[in-house]
């Protein structure tokens, strides 16, 4: 089978300079000289697939995208894009790919939005006339048509991000890497991007998208398959439906409570597969998600909370989501 993207035992280690103070200290996880960004990653993305990489910040998603888009070399292992090795055959890969990063507001402020994307299209040998027509169509799709002749420096951050999407798709790539494409965008803009990506893959049978996100809803809505990645390791890889099945026999309990002094007591309760907690800074309440295998654990959980004299503001039992899959695997929430 021809894969659009394939990696075998892919590793990437970054060396960091330690300060004089750190060099004098015993090596710890925080002050180590080497940071493992990718650890033995094996994935296969089929042609025509919308493949998601779901993981928290710092999981290694962007590093993987950088390697696949020929911006970075792997430390060990191999990777192929469109059948070409990323370390050896960059030109043939670059002919077939493009990449868009979320939060990206890059571009030349002195050029107009249209000039910016036209210029990049020329690097991909798109005929000038075709590029201009394509740019206008994409500007319309992303609601930027009226502003296409404005200098980029006058566009808002969100508008620049949409311009980045136009730049990515104007070359009509066979494979596109979307690295957190909706990061920081408002709800409507995110929806437009998600709809466009879904339509683009559906309408073009052989086009492939590799999407990284830490929004589980985005991965669930868009992706044919999802790999969950954390600390450089791919933990699982399957369709969203199959991944959710892994926690379906369990149940998910969501609690919103006043913050506790000690959360470690939950670890001792039998029947809890894993749990995550985060504090909502607006309400100053703890939001807990438990993946539980035994319903009897519910009363023990409530006892821990009430035992500390804390109030339970909300208690819900929900259908499993990809986030619950992540919590059951890793023991913390995605965001």
């Amino acid at each position: 089978m021809n894969y659009a993207v394939e990696t075998k035992n892919l590793c990437r280690v970054f060396k960091r300079k330690r300060s004089r103070k750190e060099r004098k200290q015993e090596p710890t996880k925080e002050n180590q000289k080497e940071v493992v960004a990718l650890d033995d990653v094996n994935i296969q993305v089929k042609e025509g697939e919308l493949f998601g990489l779901l993981g928290p910040n710092g999981a290694g998603k962007t590093t993987l995208i950088k390697i696949l888009s020929t911006l970075l070399l792997p430390t060990k292992g191999e990777a192929w894009v469109a059948g070409h090795n990323v370390a050896e055959d960059t030109f043939n890969i670059r002919m077939k790919i493009n990449s868009v990063s979320g939060g990206e507001s890059s571009g030349y402020g002195l050029l107009t939005a249209r000039e910016n994307v036209w210029m990049f299209s020329q690097f991909y040998d798109v005929p000038s006339k075709v590029a201009k027509q394509r740019a206008d169509d994409l500007f319309k799709t992303f609601g930027l048509y009226e502003k296409r002749n404005q200098k980029m420096r006058t566009l808002s951050t969100g508008e620049r991000q949409k311009m980045g999407m136009v730049r990515g798709f104007i070359t009509d790539p066979d494979i596109i890497f979307l690295d957190e494409p909706t990061l920081g965008l408002d709800v409507n803009a995110s929806r437009v991007i998600r709809r466009f990506v879904a339509d683009w893959v559906r309408e073009h049978e052989k086009k492939t998208v590799l999407l990284t996100t830490h929004y589980m809803m985005e991965a669930e809505e868009l992706c044919d398959r999802v790999a969950i990645i954390d600390k450089g390791k791919v933990l699982v890889c399957d369709t969203p439906e199959n991944l959710k099945k892994t926690v379906r026999r369990s149940s998910t309990l969501r609690l919103e409570i006043d913050p506790l002094k000690d959360y470690s007591k939950f670890r001792d309760i039998p029947g809890i597969r894993n749990f995550s907690k985060k504090v909502n800074p607006e309400t100053n309440r703890s939001e807990l998600v438990f993946v539980i295998d035994d319903e009897a654990a519910v009363s023990d959980i409530l006892s821990v909370v009430t035992g500390e004299g804390k109030r339970i503001h909300e208690l819900r039992k929900t259908e499993p989501t990809l986030e619950d899959v992540f919590v059951s695997l890793v023991g913390r929430a995605l965001e």
Partner: protein, 290 residues
């Protein structure tokens, strides 16, 4: 053939981008005024220093028209060196740190080397305007003795082009090294440009150096470029003993040409090597100015 076509398109597009970036920051009229005033103002600093030095009231000697032509021509053509050494560094650092476009340009199916050379071409155009203005100002306002015979124009253009290719190659070498360095490493370019200003016979003959200094001067191809340019543009400066005077112009041209070919080859390999190392270290798109 397809590859040449692709390089040509890259060259055109990147040169267009470079021109937009250099000329589009203000209105055309202001840009024209700036382009004229900047080189004249820079030249006047040197001219005033010269006038002070030769003023008998400050213990100086009487004005020497030939020496003035010597330093004026050298200084005018040094504009190319300064512009190219800083310009290419600025292109790479600007794309990386300020505009943050380097990752999008880098992963495009183009030769990044050709892209950088094309951006350098814009710097050449800007520098050429400044050099012409400086020379015209020198001849018509300051009375600098420049006498370019019509029959010498082909030789002058040959020397000019060879030298500019060499200067561009040096810029590309420093640009390649800057792939691996942080933004604040612009001091490296300043140092190299300063070394060239001092040792290449820009302002004074290299015969004024001790032997070790002359050795350094003779090892830098630009020294031969400045000497050759002066021989064509201001032949009377040959009266000044530079320690290169005894070299026949043909041999001078041969040294200039061969050292430029070597420089171009070195620039290609240094750039490619630095590119590979930067990709291995993961610093192609690093941001260092926080």
């Amino acid at each position: 053939m397809a590859m040449i076509k692709r390089h040509w398109k890259t060259l055109k597009t990147a040169a267009w981008l470079g021109w937009q970036m250099e000329s589009n920051w203000t209105q055309p009229f202001l840009f024209a005024v700036y382009s004229i005033l900047k080189p004249i103002a820079a030249t006047m600093i040197l001219v005033l220093m010269y006038w002070v030095v030769i003023n008998p009231g400050y213990g100086g000697q009487a004005e020497n028209a030939i020496m003035f032509s010597f330093l004026y021509v050298g200084n005018a053509f040094y504009i190319f060196v300064g512009q190219m050494l800083f310009g290419i560094f600025r292109v790479i650092q600007g794309d990386r740190e300020w505009y943050q476009t380097i990752r999008n340009v880098y992963i495009a199916p183009i030769s990044y080397y050709v892209y950088v050379v094309a951006r350098a071409l814009t710097q050449l155009v800007i520098a050429s305007i400044a050099v012409v203005i400086t020379l015209l100002f020198g001849v018509f306002v300051l009375g600098v003795q420049i006498s370019l015979a019509v029959t010498d124009i082909p030789l002058f253009l040959t020397i000019l082009v060879i030298g500019l290719v060499g200067v561009s190659a040096m810029g590309v070498i420093l640009g390649g090294i800057s792939f691996l360095t942080a933004k604040h490493m612009h001091g490296m370019n300043e140092s190299v440009a300063g070394i060239f200003y001092l040792f290449c016979g820009v302002l004074f003959p290299i015969s004024m150096f001790p032997v070790w200094g002359q050795f350094i001067s003779r090892a830098i191809p630009l020294t031969y470029w400045f000497e050759a340019l002066r021989r064509v543009l201001a032949p009377e400066t040959l009266q000044i003993p530079t320690s290169l005077t005894q070299i026949d112009t043909g041999l001078l041209m041969l040294i200039l040409l061969s050292s430029t070919i070597v420089l171009v080859l070195v620039s290609y390999f240094v750039f490619k090597g630095a590119d590979y190392l930067a990709r291995r270290k993961g610093v192609i798109d690093m941001i260092t100015s926080y």
